[in-house]
């Protein structure tokens, strides 16, 4: 009898205590970059549990339907969550201790995304010189200047 009573007490205690312990309280300290904003697209508890569902749904929309809106886009996640080191370069999000990797190491779930997806945001090399060439190019070719064409122009560093 006493054993059953003790068992029931332990069970009740764990049920009661598990209530306030939401997903947000468990897990490692995350390095969150607050410079891009204070709020993720969903609350933290929702994200912890369901981020894969959002990503899986979004990837099919993007892949097959060409829908590239920002919410739930993996690229946007990285744009926000990637941290920079002392030199000002981006650190890959799957590096040890970085945003994605710290939780995934804690939960022992292998990250598959970054086999293919870039782990760092891409900096756009906006150069003052580019603006003039950009205008000239556009006038010449009646085409809208693309973001990455500018990159390649900038990278070529002054060639025409």
């Amino acid at each position: 009898m006493k054993q059953i009573r003790n068992l029931l007490i332990v069970l009740a205690a764990s049920l009661i205590l598990s209530g306030p312990l939401s997903a947000a309280d468990i897990g490692p300290e995350l390095k969150i970059n607050r410079s891009k904003g204070d709020q993720c697209v969903e609350p933290a508890e929702v994200m912890r549990r369901d981020h894969m569902e959002f990503l899986l749904h979004k990837r099919d929309e993007t892949m097959h339907k060409g829908i590239r809106t920002e919410k739930y886009s993996l690229k946007e996640c990285i744009n926000c969550h990637a941290n920079k080191d002392e030199q000002g370069d981006y650190i890959p999000v799957n590096a040890p201790g970085e945003f994605c990797q710290s939780c995934h190491t804690y939960t022992s779930v292998k990250l598959d995304c970054f086999e293919c997806h870039a782990t760092k945001p891409r900096e756009t090399a906006f150069h003052p010189i580019v603006t003039d060439r950009m205008n000239a190019y556009r006038e010449q070719h009646e085409a809208p200047p693309s973001k990455t064409l500018l990159d390649s122009i900038a990278r070529q560093g002054g060639e025409q």
Partner: protein, 258 residues
């Protein structure tokens, strides 16, 4: 603490942002004119692609300049492969990916030579889509043939089946991908017709842009379903063919001067 770097960044950011704003404003303004030329590129971001549009290209081999590789270089830069990437250092020369290549053709009878760029032909009836076990190789509603690398198992059957040898397999781990162009070890890839640029509304592929920039205009990209597009008008004016036309794949990329 040294405040110097922060100030310079701040200035750059300011100029950058105003350049962006100016550029953006001009782009919007020119977008009004462009609307008539390339209205298909004005698809709202949350709208699904449809088969009202069929993206295609015309490659005029007569205009392709001997020895020119600008289209290849532009593709490499845009999509971060080959010389546009620091990855794939361990792969042998025949293992490195190649999305587009210039092929030099020497006529067996006359000996005369000319060259043309070859990439994924974005067939209407792609053999690569037929053979893919998981459906990772698929044709999007607007005609672009893609590899869904989320479900690609790397069996390489599509590479066997492609009559144009358009596909490449990634033989080692990659770390320097373009965020717009995911690529990874153990999966297959090929020319995406710059789908990320098209979806963004750029209205053109990197190779075609580079060819125009170089002044050759050998590659014209556009909407095959739009009779008013530059591409459609060009195709109407002069004869063009498909490579390996006997296979009847109804390719999206057409050629002149083969």
């Amino acid at each position: 603490m040294n405040k110097q770097p922060k100030v310079i960044t701040g200035r750059r950011e300011f100029i950058g942002k105003s350049a962006a704003a100016t550029g953006g404003a001009i782009a919007i303004a020119s977008g009004v004119t462009l609307f008539q030329v390339g209205q298909a590129s004005a698809r709202p971001a949350d709208e699904s692609v449809s088969n009202k549009v069929r993206w295609g290209m015309l490659v005029d081999s007569n205009k392709c300049a001997d020895g020119c590789n600008d289209c290849v270089t532009a593709c490499e830069t845009e999509n971060a492969w080959g010389s546009g990437s620091s990855d794939e250092q361990q792969s042998g020369a025949s293992q490195k990916a190649q999305w587009i290549r210039t092929v030099t053709l020497k006529n067996n009878l006359t000996g005369s030579e000319h060259q043309l760029p070859m990439m994924c032909q974005h067939c209407e009836e792609p053999p690569c889509v037929d053979v893919c076990p998981t459906g990772a190789s698929f044709k999007r509603a607007d005609g672009i043939v893609l590899v869904d690398k989320h479900i690609c198992i790397g069996c390489r059957y599509c590479m066997m089946a492609c009559p144009y040898k358009a596909r490449s397999f990634i033989h080692e781990e990659l770390t320097n991908q373009n965020p717009d162009v995911p690529r990874g070890k153990g999966t297959v890839e090929s020319c995406t017709m710059c789908v990320h640029k098209i979806d963004r509304g750029d209205g053109n592929t990197a190779c075609a842009e580079a060819c125009s920039k170089a002044g050759h205009n050998a590659i014209i990209f556009g909407d095959l379903n739009d009779p008013e597009s530059n591409l459609s008008k060009e195709l109407k004016q002069q004869a063009s063919t498909q490579i390996r036309a006997d296979l009847n794949l109804n390719t999206g990329v057409r050629y002149r001067g083969i």
